[in-house]
Amino acid sequence: MCGIIGVVALLGKTPYSPGVMVYRGLLRLEYRGYDSAGVASVVGGCVRVLKGKGRIADLERRIGLSSIEGLTVIGHTRWATHGTPSDNNAHPHIDCSGRIAVVHNGIIQNFRELKKMLIDKGHVFRSDTDTEVFPHLVEELYKNTNDLFKAFRKAVEMIDGSYALIMISSIEPDKIFFAKKDSPLIIGLGDGFNILASDIPALLEYTRRIITVRDGWLGYVTPTSIYVEDIRGGVVDWRKYVRVVEWSLEDATRGGYAHFMLKEIHEQPRALKDTYYGILHDIAVDETVKLMLDADKIYVTAAGTSFHASYYFSLLMNTLGKRLVTPFIASEYESYYLTASDRDLLIVVSQSGETMDALKALRAFKDRGVRVVAVSNVVDSAIPRESNIAIYTRAGPEIGVAATKTFTTQSLVLSWLAIAYAEASGSLRKSEADKLREWLGKSGEVVGKVISRSEPVAKRLAEWFRSIGNAYYLSRSIGVPVAMEGALKLKEIAYIHAEAYPAGESKHGPIALVEEEFPVVFTIPNREDLEKLLLGNIQEMKARGAVIIGVASENTSLSDQLDYQFKIPDTHWILTPITHIPPQQLLAYYTAVSKGYDPDKPRNLAKTVTVE
């Protein structure tokens, strides 16, 4: 999910300098990723590069990305999924001679072989990225061909994987070379300039005449011309593919959904699969389990949605791993850290890895010698960086302020950790652990079904929910953090007061508020013991006229007790936070939409809380 852009222009033909156009384009692409960025241009017969780690606006202040001179400029914004974000790993990458600069989206699968071959030929690499092989490869091939486009084409033929590549060179300063396979690339046609970008928003400000580059196409653009070949052979008549777009920037980034939040809810099956395969062979998990086994005390901390995933983890550890784990809300760390010592372990969970409350807790515990494991969605952000070990979810960027896919992927990672610990500590047989892991592997598929089935029910219920003022979200045991997350969603985006608490607590106070038509959402894990316990709670609510909405297995024995039911496929209870939350996300989403609110921009909230 990186973003690339390139501008090649005649002098005085662009609304801003090409450097500024690239910078503004990068800002438009920031939604695709944002841990490092860079630009390169051809100036005075040389290639100049400005790049570094950090957000684009910060880099602008630090190194002045937009001030880069020249009429042929390329840029890149990066979202690292493996390999740390660093100044060296930021794109663009250049060859040994400094005459070729490349930016790239995708993965060059055979980069290790190519890198070895190039090192053997004397090339010197400056980064750990796969991309850097490309400029060196072109440099090497150019030695033989003395024809830059031939060298570029040959290099494209030699790489395997997915790519949207653009390249500039001081050898032919008024061209941007491009190639595309499986990663998006668009050409924007200007008057006296042309643009390449990985997505339409980056160029909508400058032109609405575009060509979507097809897989297998490669070629180059100059300020006044375009040349396209198909790698399978033949020159492409690009004029046939020009079209005019007439929609807004926002429309162009939501990928067929009315809101980012809905898009991200629907991305959960994919995010879960990516996260599952990401941790499958992650040695950080093994290292973490060793630390957990060695630790005297284990704490887990987080804020907001991440805390709910963390709380689930602690309950799972208590039941499955037979190990007490203390969960606490990050901003409350002062009540916990003084009892910690260098024999203890703290697990910090943060979507952004930049949450100030969690960071402060981490530092306070570290000062006491506590070892720290981070679980984050953003590679090498502050919390992973300051931790001893980092485990990453692979949810991809989350634009919607209300966390959705990051909660389910965090739950998956933390469940995996608890299972691994339980197996390693002997409280769970390997065969049982394997079975649970197998269930986690199926979570993406199950969630796909859950979302599809739940959507019409959520939409219909939202018609009523838009008129309510309060709701209870109840459950027991491992269902409680899920209920807490469901209530949080309703509060965050639909602005309806919702309270979550363990269902057994009702008679100790909260039930006093329940009257006719009071909505109560029950999260019902697929466990017989919990279903039995929840039956009594449902009945006591019903007796007072409450309307019962159950998120429960399709075969639950409680279905006749529920006024409305979100039917979850019959899966293992360990998937509860993953399978039972999407209906609650959808209920909150449709209620917000039904009330006329924008769920992507909830009032008073920010995506990443970086202040206390």
Partner: protein, 405 residues
């Protein structure tokens, strides 16, 4: 990429709805909030794509073309469908006009969708460049079998479209929403005698058919209750009143909530209009009438004194005498409803007529299923008649006074 618009307005109405459609007309000419149904898809598609708009209509229903021309934002190319009733045949009637374009934007003329949906569809198609892009909507599984159901993969691409019994059993509940961007190659599949869903399935097997999930206003006018639903939904979106300067409203009339009152309408003393409501052009409302929420009185409707109307749609030229109660009903064009006529609306619990709007809101634990009557065009209902809930009265009926239906 060239892109034409194809609007299908030649469909035949289901029997329940056909009682509302006078000869020479089509269901797309039934009116909601002062506009024919056709206005909504036709203008929405034209706002996002300025290409040529082809309109398929049925022989003998030339009024569809006249109406389309009067509301169209661009030039209409009408094509007459003489034979066949299927969507496949309707598309193939326009084949010659479509062969010279790369893609065509297909929309059914009886779909009411938020214009933003068209924008989202087109932008997604341009952005991702699949072989086709179709609109899908989450929908109540209870009615799934009456629509095509799209089975989609994680990336939002169509795996297949199913319908009927298969749809009832399916895990997914996204219905095909009647708006498509299709390549001209689909014409070849249609020529091979495939239905439109079958042709899309072939397209999906050989390439990529992207879906756009639409979660806001979407109504397919198939049954009379869909007209009530559309009236309800469109009036729900009304936030402010719009009252014509040319309307004459007496000083003791009370207007509360958002209403639209069109030109040359007269509202007599002591009437209450409680919005959201739509009062069309040249409507007469007599003294002491109570026009309640979600009511729609179309062109030249005359409502006598002491009437009560709620959640109903009254088509043009219809006359309600005094003391008439109309709730959850659709009254066809040019009807006369005699004085003291009452329409009942709460259905017996066990009775389940098809396609009712079920009211979930009050109270949510007990769904009260409400439906008034559907009264066919040119019907005369005698005074003091009582009409039971859910009744469909055929067009041009003459009901004697004091009848219990």
């Amino acid at each position: 990429m060239t892109l034409k618009n194809l609007v299908l307005a030649a469909g035949k109405a289901k029997p329940e709805l056909s009682v509302l459609i006078p000869p020479g007309k089509n269901k797309v000419l039934l009116r909601i909030l002062g506009k024919p149904i056709l206005y909504y898809p036709l203008t929405s598609i034209q706002r996002v794509n300025r290409g040529e708009t082809i309109l398929v209509y049925r022989e003998g229903e030339e009024e569809v073309v006249e109406t389309a021309n009067s509301i169209s934002l661009g030039t209409i190319t009408p094509i007459k469908q003489v034979v066949g009733t299927s969507v496949r045949e309707a598309i193939l009637v326009a084949e010659n006009k479509l062969r010279d374009t790369d893609y065509f934007f297909l929309v059914y003329g009886d779909i009411i969708v938020d214009p933003e949906a068209f924008n989202l569809l087109l932008s997604t198609h341009y952005r991702e460049e699949p072989d086709a892009t179709i609109l899908i909507a989450p929908y109540d599984p209870e009615y799934a079998e009456t629509y095509g159901l799209a089975i989609i993969n994680e990336e939002g691409y169509v795996e297949k479209i199913i319908s009927g019994e298969q749809a009832r059993e399916a895990d997914q509940t996204y219905i095909v929403g009647g708006i498509y961007i299709l390549p001209t190659t689909i014409l070849d599949y249609l020529e091979e005698n495939n239905t439109l869903p079958e042709a899309i399935n072939k397209l999906a097997m050989n390439g990529k058919v992207k879906t756009v999930l639409w979660n806001k206003l979407w109504i397919d006018i198939g049954y009379p209750t869909d007209i009530l639903e559309a009236t309800y939904q469109l009036l729900s979106e009304l936030k402010h009143s719009k009252i014509s300067n040319k309307a004459e409203i007496e000083s003791t009339t009370i207007i509360k909530g958002p209403v639209i009152i069109e030109d040359n309408t007269y509202i007599d003393h002591y009437s209450v209009i409680k919005g959201p409501a739509y009062i069309g052009e040249k409507v007469f409302i007599g003294a002491h009438s109570f026009i309640r929420e979600y009511s729609d009185a179309e062109y030249r409707v005359r409502i006598g004194s002491y009437n009560e109307i709620k959640k109903s749609n009254i088509q043009p030229y219809t006359l309600l005498d005094s003391k008439v109660t109309i709730v959850d009903s659709i009254i066809g064009e040019n009807c006369t409803i005699g004085t003291n006529t009452t329409i009942l609306n709460v259905l017996p619990e066990k009775e389940k007529p098809p396609r009712l709007r079920t009211h979930l809101v009050h109270p949510p634990t007990k769904i009260i299923r409400k439906m008034g009557a559907v009264i066919g065009y040119n019907t005369r209902i005698g005074a003091s008649t009582t009409i039971s809930p859910g009744k469909i009265i055929k067009q041009e009926s003459i009901i004697k006074p004091k009848t219990l239906i």
